[in-house]
């Protein structure tokens, strides 16, 4: 299910992007970075620093920024803060939604839905309605919905922030596994230092509003990453560095 080989090694590029809202709020200030194929890039920063604005601009949900935003891929995955499932659709029909909107034919849609429901461990829950699922399962369904598009670039807007710690760790592990098997480029937003280090190949630190990128950390660990990596000395050291950078960003 890997996306076809791409000529362009850069999945997403922000070049001197600034964004001010009509009410005068400056959300982003001269933000430049790129997400290359094979990279899992996480942006971490204080609440309200404009992290979500980066994703909304990258996906085209938000317009009006100055600077250049280049998205190399048509197939965009997007997981929101809330699962945003449609309550009147079963899990299966929710998972099929994006493929449906993109005009994928019905039999192919059903095939892909089966495949991704299996991938995220929701096989057996296909005919449930969202209100019958736990928070973690809803997030899995939300993840599956984007996976049906076989995204080359996957955007995550603090998807696991509302979940309990254990569920969150489980989903981090599953996402890291999907990153290896599905080979998408990822841009992930979070508040959590541990989540950022565990998932990413690179972590960017954003300052308080207006958001500027103030630090960048490479995370050298190989995938697959075992759950116990979180207690490794090298991991903890990196988390410490990130924490220090984040403190400066809050200042």
């Amino acid at each position: 299910m890997a996306p076809a080989a791409h000529a362009d090694p850069v999945a997403l590029r922000f070049d001197g992007v600034s964004m001010a809202f009509p009410d005068g709020t400056r959300a982003l200030d001269d933000v430049s970075f790129e997400v290359r194929r094979g990279e899992f890039v996480t942006i971490i920063g204080p609440s309200g620093c404009g992290k979500s604005t980066v994703l909304r601009l990258a996906s085209g949900l938000l317009e009006g920024a100055s600077g250049t935003i280049t998205v190399a891929d048509e197939n965009l995955g997007y997981v929101f803060q809330d699962p945003t499932l449609l309550p009147w659709r079963t899990v299966r029909r929710n998972v099929e939604l994006f493929a449906e909107l993109c005009g994928v034919a019905k039999p192919e849609r059903a095939r892909r839905a089966d495949e991704v429901l299996d991938l995220v461990g929701l096989d057996g829950f296909a005919d449930r309605y969202p209100h019958q699922l736990s928070g973690g399962m809803r997030m899995r369904a939300s993840l599956a919905r984007s996976l049906t598009l076989r995204p080359g670039l996957f955007l995550f807007d603090e998807p696991f922030g509302a979940l309990d710690e254990i569920t969150r760790e489980h989903l981090n592990e599953e996402l890291a596994r999907l990153f290896v098997s599905e080979r998408f480029a990822a841009l992930f937003i979070t508040h959590s230092i541990y989540e950022a280090v565990y998932l990413s190949t690179r972590v960017l630190v954003m300052s308080a509003r207006p958001g500027r990128l103030v630090a960048s950390l490479e995370v050298p660990f190989e995938y697959p990453r075992p759950p116990a990596l979180r207690f490794d000395a090298a991991f903890t050291a990196l988390a410490g560095q990130l924490s220090a950078a984040l403190r400066e960003a809050y200042a």
């Binding site: 085209g60 945003t84 449609l86 309550p87 659709r89 909107l101 993109c102 969202p130 209100h131």
Partner: protein, 292 residues
């Protein structure tokens, strides 16, 4: 905005504290639920007897024939006289046809207008005042006009039903179409959904709960419209409203109340029907949204 309580929806038993010792409490609760309607019914009938047998004379000082007791109403309307019984059921059947046709037209017109208004703010701002006005203007004012245009029989009665029942459909459908959450709209924006896809796959399903609220209100109003229309448009086969009027003018109060009961039963039947259709359409998912 019109609103009503969800009619007849089975209320989920709250899984409260002390679940272990609650078996008898639960059974008692269920007994109360079955007993409640029965007790209220008995009280209602008792009150009726009290008023017709005693209070009407002793308290109000009116002749007792004005409100015959329940058994006389049932006997006079449905048991004693086959001809009257036939008249009654033909009348209510005709009124049901008037109400259903009127309601059907109101649904098509009302939902169509609501969809149109949901497309753009300026359309809503231009049309909505007229919808409100239609609701507020007394139907009596339109009677001569409607009668002279469409005749004093079936067509005009249907039109009264449409006028009287269309507003809750417009208001509730529009409210529902605009109630889809911004996050859900983002999903459709993200993948460049067409306006049609957004309407059919997002806005319309999101609107279903309030559409059915509107339908239940409008269904009752359509029955009122059919009865009221009978009072104004007196040609053609008599509906239940005409019968009420005829019995009233003859001082046949037992028959009149029997006809009123039939009209009320028709109202309850259509209200129940739309409640049932609503549960059929959204029973499996709507509980979640209803409980929030």
């Amino acid at each position: 905005m019109s609103a009503s309580t969800p009619g007849g929806a089975p209320r989920p038993e709250p899984a409260g504290p002390g679940a272990t010792g609650s078996a008898s409490v639960g059974r008692g609760k269920r007994r109360t639920e079955r007993l409640g309607p029965f007790v209220v019914f008995v009280l209602f009938i008792g009150l009726w007897y009290l008023v017709s047998g005693w209070a009407i004379d002793a308290v109000f000082g009116k002749p007792s024939f004005l409100l015959p007791p329940p058994h006389q109403v049932i006997a006079a309307g449905f048991l004693d006289n086959a001809m009257i019984r036939g008249q009654m059921f033909e009348g209510v059947w005709l009124s049901a046809q008037v109400a259903f046709l009127g309601l059907a037209i109101a649904i098509v017109v009302g939902m169509g207008l609501a969809v149109l208004m949901s497309r753009a703010r300026w359309i809503e701002r231009s049309l909505y005042p007229y919808a409100v006005a239609l609701q507020a203007v007394p139907i009596l004012a339109f009677v001569p006009l409607i009668g002279s245009f469409f005749g004093f029989d079936f067509t005009s009665r249907v039109l009264v039903c449409v006028i009287i029942s269309v507003f809750p459909i417009i208001a509730n459908t529009l409210f529902g179409l605009l109630s889809a959450e911004p996050g859900q709209h983002d999903l459709f924006t993200l993948y460049a959904a067409s306006g049609r896809q957004r309407l059919l796959k997002l806005q319309f399903p999101a609107a279903l709960p309030s559409i059915f609220t509107g339908l239940r209100i409008s269904a009752g109003l359509a029955v009122i419209g059919a009865v009221v229309g009978d009072f104004f448009f007196r040609q053609g086969e008599p509906g239940i409203g005409r019968l009420i009027d005829v019995y009233r003018s003859r001082n046949d109060n037992a028959e009149m109340f029997a006809a009123v009961i039939l009209a009320a039963a028709l109202g309850i039947a259509v209200f129940w029907l739309f409640g049932f259709l609503g549960r059929l359409a959204m029973g499996r998912w709507h509980e979640s949204t209803g409980q929030r």
